[in-house]
């Protein structure tokens, strides 16, 4: 009990207890970070699974380093921007009311200034070019900054402290069912010691708050002329601020835990988590150039804010005299100590009746008396027809779990809304009709973000209750597919709304606008599939620790793919766009197939699916084939005449790349023990060869007709004029490539792996069409149509005979016919 605090047990002193607690918490955080990466290679029991990515720590390191750089840059830019904006504003004001300016002569102030005061002049000089008549204010007496800059910095510092406080209050700790204080209170510690320890422990392990405050204060110190001491000043100022944040955090969460039932607590947390990033977003938006809105707010900061901790911290940094700085620092610390003491007393008062969270049986509290059966069945008539049971359950969870809803549906809106609001002058919405790419990128980003918190997490929302899906007679694939569909529909609402608003605002519509909208519209379902599939690998629903349920590597892969898709939005030509959309679709299909193979093994930590040929293998092989060709070509180039590739070199690059790809794939399959490899020949070879010849003739006849039509209708005039007459040797090399090498390697990759992989998921007819499409898309636009037909013919031949030799014959015949035709045409042309 807390009441026994008068008799402090002699066992453990307050300081030691605080140290132990801080150490425990730090250990917890280290364990959390390490375990995310450690379990990839650490545990022996995991050897059965091949799914772990070895390069995870590298990606983590990369993300970490880029985050540090980004935080530094944002802090620096926001301080400099606000400082500059304030100077300009002050100069303008002094131009209008010369008497208002306190210090019209900049030199007067400079005399009393600390060393390293060159920076302000540089800023002034740069802006002076734009408005030469302005006279920039010198620093205020006793300070390194003019009054306006101090005011701006006060605004920014207060914002940073607010950001730290909000981020801390929004921490997920409060929604966890277990409450650490309930456990800590059983330790042999006096209540006062316990509270002090708790505050200290939370202050020194609050890295989020440190990141929000310390860099900004450090940059301010630097800008005020402190050099190597700048970080020391920043840290000295941060420590009392951290203690203050921790005391408010403890006060709020203890009070809420004691007063609110968990369900209310979760919903409150949802609201707070939506509002909490706002100060941080303002700090970030201050770092963008020419942000007039934030600058305006900074200028309008009322005077009394200067007497709050943020303002006092800025004055301590800006004071040129050490004694004055110490005074300001002392005043800030005193203020904070007062606040901390007040919260301390309040916490003590909160805990006077013990520490037991209310309402463990929450639903008993919220159950409406009498109404045993809410009107679900009545309202569900339409829903039952529109949605599958899984989708209905998902929607119900979404409507009840406010933090889920906030994170998935509201947070993205707020983030984007604030940015659009803060950048009103760029008016991204109004200009969207003429230049739709930016708006389309935002719309797609919103949808992709929504999917990250919904479709990607499909397994995590099942969590430990996944056993239910294993006990019902429904394939997991159909359950996940119906979830992916649902989320695609929900996520596409954002782009639709954004495009609709743009159309309404502009009262106009254009072809590029429609094109961008189509790309986004196609992207959302594709990324719903990608997110669901990656979520299968990236989520560990059985993991107890919520933090570890998502493997960050797969999140990064998802983000990488999403940013790759942005190329499709920004791509200039229709053809490029279509190719990127189709390619992303293929990636989605390949990932889905890989995920589907995993379904029976999801809950089994050791077993992994038997190795099978998959579409993903085909895509990897195709990529490897193209990259190797380029690489070998690069190596060969210096040996050629005049740094151009001779036909023989092209042949070597092509065949070498094909042979290496073939070898690597076969080796991989052999090592993995893959059984369903594409075979070259088999029983009934003669009949198969005959079929291959028939397919080749069909494709060749179509190709012939196409070339004739293209020539007579001048479909590709540029192509026709640019062809030079090749000599016999060239034709022979090209012939060897087209008739021998190409059929062998391309059939292995496109029919053996890609078509074979697709057939597992799409069925034969779908796989014939889709594999022909990808085969066509990797060829130049001139030959897309006949190559698509060739792809159809070879796929049909391979599907019928199940022998690569047959489709190789088809391919070789077609290529031979086209080469002969070209040769003939060119001869005549000469």
């Amino acid at each position: 009990m807390i009441g026994t605090s008068e008799t402090t047990p002699p066992g453990v002193g307050g300081l030691r207890a605080a140290r132990l607690l801080v150490r425990l918490r730090l250990r917890q955080q280290v364990n959390r970070i390490v375990s995310v990466y450690r379990h990839r290679w650490g545990r022996k029991t995991r050897t059965g699974t091949a799914r772990k990515m070895r390069a995870g720590w590298l990606i983590g390191l990369w993300v970490g380093v880029s985050m540090v750089i980004a935080i530094g840059q944002i802090s620096y830019n926001s301080v400099v921007n606000v400082e500059r904006a304030m100077r300009v504003a002050e100069a303008r004001a002094s131009l209008q009311h010369p008497t208002v300016a306190r210090n019209p002569d900049p030199d007067a102030g400079r005399a009393t200034r600390a060393p390293a005061s060159g920076n302000p002049e540089r800023i002034g000089g740069r802006s002076a070019r734009a408005a030469p008549a302005l006279r920039y204010p010198g620093p205020a007496p006793g300070y390194a900054w003019p009054t306006g800059a101090i005011r701006g910095a006060t605004f920014l510092a207060s914002l940073a402290i607010l950001a730290a406080l909000f981020l801390t209050l929004a921490s997920r700790e409060i929604v966890r069912t277990e409450w650490e204080l309930e456990w800590l209170v059983t330790m042999p510690l006096a209540a006062t010691t316990l509270i002090a320890c708790r505050i200290a422990e939370r202050a020194f392990t609050n890295f989020g708050a440190m990141i929000a405050m310390t860099p900004i204060l450090g940059v301010m110190a630097w800008r005020c002329g402190h050099t190597w001491t700048a970080p020391l000043y920043a840290i000295a100022l941060t420590i009392p601020l951290l203690l203050f944040v921790a005391s408010v955090h403890t006060l709020v969460d203890t009070g809420l835990r004691l007063a609110l039932a968990p369900s209310r607590l979760r919903n409150l947390h949802a609201v707070v988590s939506i509002l909490s990033p706002l100060p941080l977003l303002l700090v970030i938006s201050a770092s963008l150039p020419d942000n007039l809105l934030v600058a305006g707010w900074a200028g309008a900061t009322p005077d009394w804010v200067a007497w709050l901790p943020g303002g006092l911290a800025v004055r301590a940094l800006a004071a040129t005299d050490v004694g004055a700085a110490a005074q300001w620092f002392g005043l800030m610390t005193g203020e904070l100590v007062g606040l901390i003491a007040a919260s301390f007393l309040l916490i003590e008062r909160q805990m006077r009746r013990g520490v037991v969270a209310v309402g463990v049986r929450e639903a008993a509290v919220r159950r409406p008396a009498g109404a045993a059966h809410p009107a679900v069945p009545a309202a569900g008539g339409l829903a039952a027809r529109l949605f599958s049971p899984v989708q209905r359950r998902e929607l119900r969870l979404l409507s009840r779990d406010h933090s889920f809803m906030a994170q998935t549906l509201v947070l993205p809106l707020i983030t984007v809304g604030v940015q659009i609001f803060l950048n009103v002058h760029t008016n991204i919405l109004a200009t969207a009709i003429d230049r739709p790419a930016n708006l389309a990128a935002i719309a797609f980003g919103l949808a992709a973000y929504t999917l990250l918190y919904s479709a990607f997490q499909t397994l995590n929302t099942e969590g430990q209750a996944l056993w239910i899906l294993y006990s019902v007679p429904q394939p997991l694939e159909s359950v996940l597919r119906s979830k992916a569909k649902l989320w695609a529909v929900l996520a596409i609402a954002y782009p639709l709304a954004i495009f609709a608003i743009a159309i309404v605002l502009a009262r106009d519509i254009s072809l590029p606008f429609v094109g961008a909208a189509v790309v986004v519209g196609a992207g959302v379902p594709i990324f719903s599939v990608i997110a669901t599939a990656l979520g299968v690998f990236g989520c560990d629903p059985l993991e107890q620790d919520v933090q570890k349920r998502v493997r960050p590597t797969y999140l990064y892969i998802y983000m990488l793919l999403a940013s790759f898709y942005a190329y499709a939005i920004y791509a200039s030509s229709m053809w490029q766009r279509a190719a990127l959309v189709v390619l992303t679709g293929l990636v989605a299909l390949a990932l889905w197939q890989k995920a589907r193979d995993r379904f029976p093994y999801l809950l089994d930590p050791t077993a992994s699916p038997p190795a099978r040929v998959s579409l993903a293998d085909g895509l990897i092989a195709a990529l490897m084939f193209f990259v190797l060709q380029a690489l070998i070509g690069l190596v060969e180039r210096p040996f050629g005449n005049g740094h151009t590739m001779t036909p023989a070199m092209v042949w070597i690059a092509y065949s070498g790349a094909g042979a290496i790809t073939y070898g690597v794939m076969r080796l991989t399959y052999w090592r993995a023990g893959t059984t369903d490899l594409p075979r070259l020949i088999g029983p009934g070879l003669a009949r198969a060869a005959l079929l291959g010849v028939a397919g080749g003739l069909a494709a060749a006849i179509f190709g012939f007709a196409y070339v004739m039509a293209a020539r007579s209708f001048e479909w590709f005039p540029a192509f026709r004029q640019s062809t030079a007459t090749p000599d016999l040797a060239t034709m022979l090399w090209l012939g060897a490539l087209a008739v021998v090498a190409a059929p062998i390697f391309e059939e292995f990759i496109f029919r053996g792996l890609i078509f074979g992989g697709m057939r597992r998921t799409l069925g034969t007819a779908g796989a014939v069409l889709a594999s022909a499409a990808i085969f066509a898309i990797v060829h130049p636009p001139v030959s897309v149509v006949p190559v698509f037909v060739l792809g159809l013919c070879t796929a049909v031949v391979y599907a019928r005979t199940r022998m690569l030799a047959a489709s190789m014959i088809t391919h070789a015949l077609y290529n031979a016919a086209v080469i002969a035709l070209q040769w003939n045409v060119l001869q005549h042309a000469v």
């Binding site: 049986r361 159950r367 430990q464 056993w467 239910i468 019902v472 007679p473 394939p475 077993a607």
Partner: protein, 252 residues
């Protein structure tokens, strides 16, 4: 009805279940006994397709548990050892959801859910979020999930574990009722008195291997004539301390 052929599960270097060979006939109540960590739950999870056997196969009603997952689950009701439910969903909603996932129309699923909740004395809690149920209530809700599609086979992992005496009796009565309707029941437990009351035949598993199987009476007569099931159990299973000593004494 249930056939296990040489079922083996290996985790790295640890063999959780080794070459299990077992048959349960139609209409039988089979007790799967064993000390903690013997491999009972692992075996049951393999029957449900949650874990994949390292070797061997499990056939229920002529259907392979790995290859015909969907068909198997139409015939099987499953109660896990520690049923976890979705947050933010009420007991009634979860039960109706499971019914619908079994292909029942919405109204029927809700009707059945209501009936089962009444039968298992969960009516009062039906409108509460299931995550807040006590252990016993969760277990009963799990049993309701297993029964909602009226399956021919029930696979119950520790059905009365964590229940108070009244709830435990309640669950046992429900199991007996299913048995009386000719259902095949495979239940794992380490509560010997329950096995004695319910099961016609038992199998005892220890350190992953089946050490005794047969009708209770026969086992008692054969192994410890005149002894109780407890004595049989103690005789055929290892004592951890003993094993430790044994290893110590044989290793020089």
């Amino acid at each position: 009805m249930i056939e296990l052929h040489q079922v083996t599960k290996v985790y790295g270097e640890f063999t959780a279940v080794r070459a299990l060979e077992l048959t349960v006939d139609k209409g039988e109540v089979f007790g799967f006994l064993g000390p903690n960590g013997a491999g009972k739950t692992t075996t049951i999870r393999m029957m449900m397709g949650i874990l994949v056997p390292s070797a061997g196969s499990i056939v229920i009603d002529g259907l392979d548990c790995q290859l015909d997952r969907v068909a198997v689950k139409q015939r099987v009701g499953y109660l896990p050892d520690n049923p976890v439910f979705y947050d933010y969903l009420r007991g009634r909603e979860i039960l109706a959801f499971v019914g619908e996932m079994h292909g029942q129309p919405r109204e029927e699923a809700q009707k059945r859910a209501a009936a089962l909740l009444a039968e298992l004395a969960l009516e009062d809690a039906a409108e509460e979020f299931a995550v807040n149920y006590s252990t016993g209530m969760k277990k009963k809700l799990g049993l309701a999930c297993a029964l909602i599609h009226d399956p021919d086979v029930l696979i119950l992992d520790e059905p009365t574990n964590g229940l108070d005496p009244r709830a435990s009796r309640h669950v046992q009565e429900r199991i007996r009722l299913s048995a009386a309707h000719g259902k095949t029941i495979f239940l794992s437990t380490h509560l010997l008195d329950m096995a004695e009351r319910l099961c016609g035949r038992v199998g005892i598993i220890d350190q992953g291997a089946l050490v005794a199987v047969g009708p209770l009476k026969e086992l008692q007569d054969k192994l410890v004539p005149g002894g109780s099931l407890e004595e049989v159990f103690l005789k055929v299973t290892h004592d951890d301390a003993e094993v430790g000593n044994g290893v110590m004494s044989t290793v020089p």
